[in-house]
């Protein structure tokens, strides 16, 4: 039991560092440049029932200390994920992985979760009810406590694996949504997904993104994510996975002090492919400097 170990919904992680969904593909690109078994785990690309191309390009725009993206849940669909991606993943990653699930209807969430529940490689189901970039989908479930509760209940009914609901920051009170999920049986919540944003090209006078709006991520959102993690950790008893702009070992510690049981790293993977490996390597020395013996001791230290 190392000093970096944490528990995530009953499954022990070697460390709390988790690449977040949509920034790590299905792991292969990163497995080519470092041994991804150093990670606590990772959350794979948001998966839907059918294959999706996603939004028209451009899908990414620059912004101060961050970027705005509107990929729109491009993924090969749950069949290919189970038949092609997971077998490939088995060769380079030997820990339980977080299966990130998206849907456009209650039935779709249920169908995809039911399928992934049968996969031994899957440790947790992370149910994305917060994608700001697909119309009529994702986010609508994440901005209404009743809808969030409905999805949670339905998904819990078809899986024995821990269910983590991924929440949207684009709400008046995220604790309401988190509590609705908890009351409906969620084993954990992860937050924040991206903050709805946009950019305009002042030369062409048109929105930069093909989807017009997108989601802001990167360092810029860190203080907002930290606040929401803090509020949510105070409001619920289930584990909170903190994400949003985390880019360094210091950020991981700050996020955990705000109440996160584990921390996801998102956009930072895209500009520094080694960031998660580096964070994991930096943590012990930083903990020494801060007088932290075991990282789990500081979860919620600032609450």
């Amino acid at each position: 039991m190392g000093r970096l170990n944490v528990d995530l919904c009953g499954i022990e992680l070697d460390n709390p560092v988790i690449p977040s969904s949509g920034t790590f593909g299905y792991g292969h690109e990163f497995a080519k440049i470092y041994d991804i078994n150093c990670l606590g785990t990772f959350s794979f690309k948001g998966t839907t029932k059918e294959e999706r191309f996603g939004n028209p390009t451009p899908r990414v725009a620059e912004s101060p200390s961050g970027c705005v993206n509107a990929v729109g849940l491009q993924n090969p669909g749950v069949d290919k994920v189970i038949n092609e991606e997971l077998p490939k993943l088995k060769e380079c990653f030997h820990k339980p992985v977080i299966a990130n699930v998206s849907g456009f209807s209650l039935d779709e969430y249920v169908y995809v979760c039911e399928r992934l529940d049968k996969e031994d490689q899957v440790g947790w189901l992370e149910v994305n009810i917060s994608c700001p970039n697909v119309h009529g989908g994702g986010m609508s479930f994440g901005t209404d406590p009743k809808a969030a509760a409905l999805v949670t209940k339905a998904v819990k009914g078809v899986t024995t694996k821990p269910v983590i609901m991924k929440l949207s920051p684009n709400v008046t009170d995220i604790t309401e949504i988190a509590k609705a999920c908890e009351d409906s049986g969620a084993d954990g919540v992860s937050l924040i997904n991206t903050i709805m944003a946009m950019r305009i090209d002042i030369k062409s006078r048109r929105p930069v993104l093909g989807n017009v709006t997108g989601g802001l991520s990167g360092k810029a959102v860190f203080p907002v994510a930290l606040r929401m993690v803090y509020q949510t950790a105070k409001a619920v008893k289930i584990p909170v996975v903190g994400l949003g702009g985390v880019s360094s070992a210091e950020d991981v510690i700050e996020m955990m002090m705000a109440g996160a049981s584990a921390v996801q790293v998102g956009a930072a993977n895209l500009i520094d492919p080694f960031v998660c490996k580096n964070i994991i390597e930096d943590l012990p020395e930083l903990m020494d400097r801060l007088g932290i013996k075991n990282i789990k001791d500081i979860i919620g230290a600032a609450l």
Partner: protein, 245 residues
């Protein structure tokens, strides 16, 4: 892919807004012409992808046009500056398909990747013809460099101020070729697509997130399925291209 620190050893203007930068350091991840590098710049979040123009032992050459904040910042860099760069990105051109008379069609800052390609093809005894298109005389660069390699080099300018008047596709009559390689602005690529008779390889430019296949930011549809310009691209075969209108 490799993440390396590269030292700027030259950064000079080739044309009013076009610069050549030579970077010193490990280049071992770069395995084919047409690949690109992705450069981290101060104060900007996303890296900036730029195709590789030339490669010598431990020296990498890129040619870039000042189009925004990132390239603006690069144009001001002095020798000695150190850059955090991801190298060896993308699939690059397949030289095995060239046949004995490959045709290279470049437009503006689409010309640079063709230089390294020519440098690979010529020693293999291929008869390389390079048609390089620019808007106007002031913007022409690398004509002599291509000639020095031994490529038959034809320059076109849209305004006729230098070389042949018109676009690269207006200079194809009478040129025999076994295969073609092209890189340039999308309208030119579409014209090349229509004007060429053999198979060929197109290098595409896209706004990218990561540049190494993680974020799906630069996906496109092809006849052979969805592809990531940064990973299964930037080079696509003529036969698989689906123009988004």
């Amino acid at each position: 892919m490799e993440q390396v620190l590269l030292k700027v050893i030259e950064n000079k203007a080739l044309a009013p807004t076009v610069f050549r930068m030579k970077l010193e350091g490990s280049t071992k991840a770069i395995t084919a012409p047409g690949q690109f590098v992705n450069i981290k710049l101060d104060g900007l979040y996303l890296r900036r992808p730029i195709s590789v123009c030339d490669l010598e032992k431990n020296v990498l050459t890129i040619i870039y046009k000042v189009v925004g904040e990132g390239t603006e910042q690069m144009s001001k860099m002095k020798a000695g500056a150190v850059l955090d760069v991801l190298t060896g990105l993308g699939n690059g051109y397949d030289t095995a398909l060239s046949g004995d008379r490959p045709l290279l069609l470049g437009g503006g800052v689409g010309v640079p990747p063709l230089y390294l390609l020519a440098k690979k093809l010529l020693p293999e005894g291929k008869k390389v013809t390079a048609v390089l298109g620019f808007n106007t005389k002031d913007e022409v660069f690398y004509e002599n460099e291509f000639k020095a390699l031994g490529a038959v080099t034809i320059i076109t300018t849209a305004d006729g101020s230098y070389g042949k008047r018109g676009f690269v596709t207006d200079a194809l009559d009478g040129i025999g070729y076994t295969h073609f390689y092209t890189c340039g602005p999308e309208p030119m690529l579409k014209a090349v697509y229509r004007a060429t008779k053999t198979s060929g390889q197109f290098s595409f430019e896209r706004r990218m997130g990561c540049g190494f296949g993680a974020c799906m930011g630069c996906s496109c549809k092809t006849i052979t399925g969805y592809k990531r310009i940064c990973k299964e691209g930037p080079v696509l075969m003529k036969e698989e291209i689906l123009w988004e209108d």
